[in-house]
């Protein structure tokens, strides 16, 4: 472990994701500048910062959307060892490295039912068992048990996320808050080691948002998932985060636990502007 690593690595959870000197430039614009970060398993790590700070760019670099200009994103996979996410095709990021993300603007398969959305996420296991659909056509036993396992997993998450009664509704017809929950349930069906959530609380009402908090804590504590969270809703961030990283104009300006971040002068300056801080100090 290099000395650029952050305190997060020492919080107890096993190191899962290691971001080393990640820089992403678009022409003259530097969206991310030399970002280093460590994300452990079983903990919730939040990325916050004003709009345009580079949070979503960071997620895009994680999931193979963008190829970072310089730097590495390394996933410490318990089975396969260290994997460089920035050199993988998108589908390997989920299939092999176990990193799954959700989007700020929901991206469900709107014409499929909720259940089908969750089954698609388990495609790889099913495809292996069905020998590329051929055995599936003939109802072979191995495929049947794989299908039942996929169904059982989908039902488990549907139940946990209170989606069971709408399992057969087309996903596109449901309310915003519900669609957010489906998106998280679908991501969980991939069995991720690291779950990256891009503003999961946006557009949720206070009750839904409280349920989200509870769910995030449950996933990290009970299922030992690493959770990487981009969020503007401070009620969520401050309550659930084990570790917070603050970005502003692509630079990491602060890092620490919620209490440290709330009192960090740089953070207050970035969020409220220079003048207000002076007044506050006065």
């Amino acid at each position: 472990m290099s000395n650029t690593l952050t305190p997060a690595a020492n919080q107890g959870g096993k190191l899962l994701l290691e971001v080393e000197h990640l820089t992403m430039r678009f022409g003259g614009l530097t969206a991310l500048n030399d970002l280093s970060l460590a994300v452990p398993a079983g903990k919730i790590t939040s990325i916050i910062g004003p709009n345009g700070a580079g949070k979503t760019t960071f997620f895009n670099c994680l999931t193979g959307f963008y190829k970072p200009t310089t730097g590495n994103v390394r996933m410490h996979h318990p089975q396969y060892g260290p994997l460089l996410l920035n050199q993988m095709p998108s589908y390997h990021v989920a299939r092999k490295a176990g990193v799954v993300r959700t989007f700020q603007n929901i991206r469900l398969f709107p014409n499929m039912t909720v259940l089908e959305n969750l089954i698609v996420a388990q495609h790889n296991a099913l495809q292996r068992a069905s020998r590329f659909s051929i055995a599936g056509l003939f109802g072979q036993a191995g495929y049947k048990s794989a299908r039942e396992a996929a169904l059982a997993k989908a039902l488990m998450w549907l139940t946990r996320l209170k989606l069971l009664d709408i399992a057969d509704t087309a996903a596109g017809n449901l309310s915003y808050g519900t669609q957010r929950r489906i998106e998280i349930a679908r991501a969980l069906c991939v069995d991720p080691l690291l779950l990256c959530l891009d503003e999961p609380a946006a557009g949720l009402n206070p009750r839904e948002s409280a349920e989200l908090n509870e769910l995030l804590l449950y996933l990290s504590r009970e299922h030992n998932k690493g959770v990487l969270l981009i969020e503007h809703d401070m009620n969520v961030v401050m309550r659930v985060s084990d570790h917070i990283c603050v970005l502003n104009f692509g630079n990491k300006i602060a890092e620490g636990n919620p209490a440290q971040i709330q009192n960090d002068p740089d953070v207050i300056k970035a969020y409220l502007g220079e003048d207000e801080t002076d007044q506050e100090a006065a």
Binding site: T63, G64, F65, P89, S90, Y91, H92, V93, A94, R95, V100, R101, F103, R107, L108, F109, P110, N111, M112, E116, I119, V120, A121, H123, N124, L126, Q127, S130, F132, S133, G136, L137, G172, R186, V190
Partner: protein, 304 residues
């Protein structure tokens, strides 16, 4: 009356062939949102390969008709699927991130290439095969007009029904079908769930080519003549069928194919054979005026 039933049978047969080609169009359109203009030529290549294989089997002395047709189908599907895969690999995949016009043009290029390749290597002359399945049933005679149902027509119609059923099952019920529908709706998200989108698209092209291959074999056996230029008109008709039925919808493609087959057959019989294409495309225009998304297509409703 006799004449009417006969044209109905002919129209069904023709429509089934258009429907098979249209199924391939619609599947490919569904997954990448682009028309595969080389699809008609894939069908032509299949027909040419079918002539070769049938002639070869004849020379080898395999005379049992069902066996010969089954072997031909297997061989033609195999080679045509490779063609389908190559078309995607050469004309579509390198342009995945380009503007939508670029792959359209490269596909037209692919179509011209395939036609010319076949013309150069196989010659421009019409290729005949001897009649494989002559005869049929004489259903009834009415007013001195006897209605025939040829064995080849039974074969074409039943093969088409079976394939439509198999493909509907494949798309709606199997894991591959779900993966394919997922790619249709959101390729990026599908990849992020661990699904290899490029491979799914390749398989879809291969399946579409396989359908065109079956259509090519059927037509070869039905008409007994094939040349390098049959792909263009068949492709345009099948494309019309797919649009008429609602592009992206499998039953729609089949329905569109049947409607076009019927129009052609009835128009040729009762009005004028010269204007059958005008009638076909006229109906297309009429349908699209009142149902822009086709007969069975889902209208795109954008939520705001």
């Amino acid at each position: 009356m006799g004449q009417f039933i006969q044209q109905l049978i002919n129209g069904l047969t023709l429509g089934a062939v258009y429907g098979l080609i249209a199924l391939g169009y619609t599947m490919v359109y569904g997954i990448i949102g682009m028309i595969n203009f080389a699809h008609g030529d894939i069908y032509m290549v299949a027909a040419i390969i079918a002539v070769t294989v049938l002639t070869l089997l004849g020379a080898l002395g395999i005379s049992a008709v069902p066996l010969a047709i089954l072997i031909t189908l297997a061989v033609v599907i195999f080679f045509t699927a490779i063609y389908g895969w190559s078309v995607e690999r050469v004309a579509y995949r390198p342009l995945r991130k380009a503007s939508r016009l670029a792959p359209l043009i490269s596909a037209i290029g692919m179509s011209i290439f395939l036609q010319n390749m076949v013309q150069l290597t196989q010659g421009a002359r019409v290729k005949p095969i001897h009649a494989m399945m002559p005869g049929g049933f004489e259903l009834f005679t009415h007013d001195g007009f006897s209605v025939h149902l040829a064995y080849t027509q039974i074969m074409i119609i039943s093969v088409t029904i079976i394939l439509l059923a198999v493909f509907s099952y494949l798309i709606t019920r199997t894991s591959f079908g779900r993966q394919q529908r997922a790619c249709e709706q959101d390729q990026t998200m599908t990849a992020l769930l661990g699904i290899n989108v490029d491979r799914t698209i390749s398989y879809t092209f291969m399946l579409g080519a396989a359908l065109a291959a079956v259509a090519g074999v059927m037509v070869t056996v039905y008409y007994g003549v094939v040349d390098f230029s049959i792909g263009f008109v068949a492709g345009i008709k099948a494309f019309t069928a797919a649009v008429l039925g609602g592009i992206g919808s499998l039953p729609g493609a089949m329905l569109g194919g049947l409607i076009i087959g019927m129009i052609e057959s009835f128009w040729s019989a009762y009005l004028s054979p010269e204007y059958k294409d005008v009638a076909t495309f006229g109906i297309l225009i009429l349908v699209l005026m009142f149902r822009p998304s086709g007969l069975l297509g889902r209208p795109e409703v954008e939520k705001v």
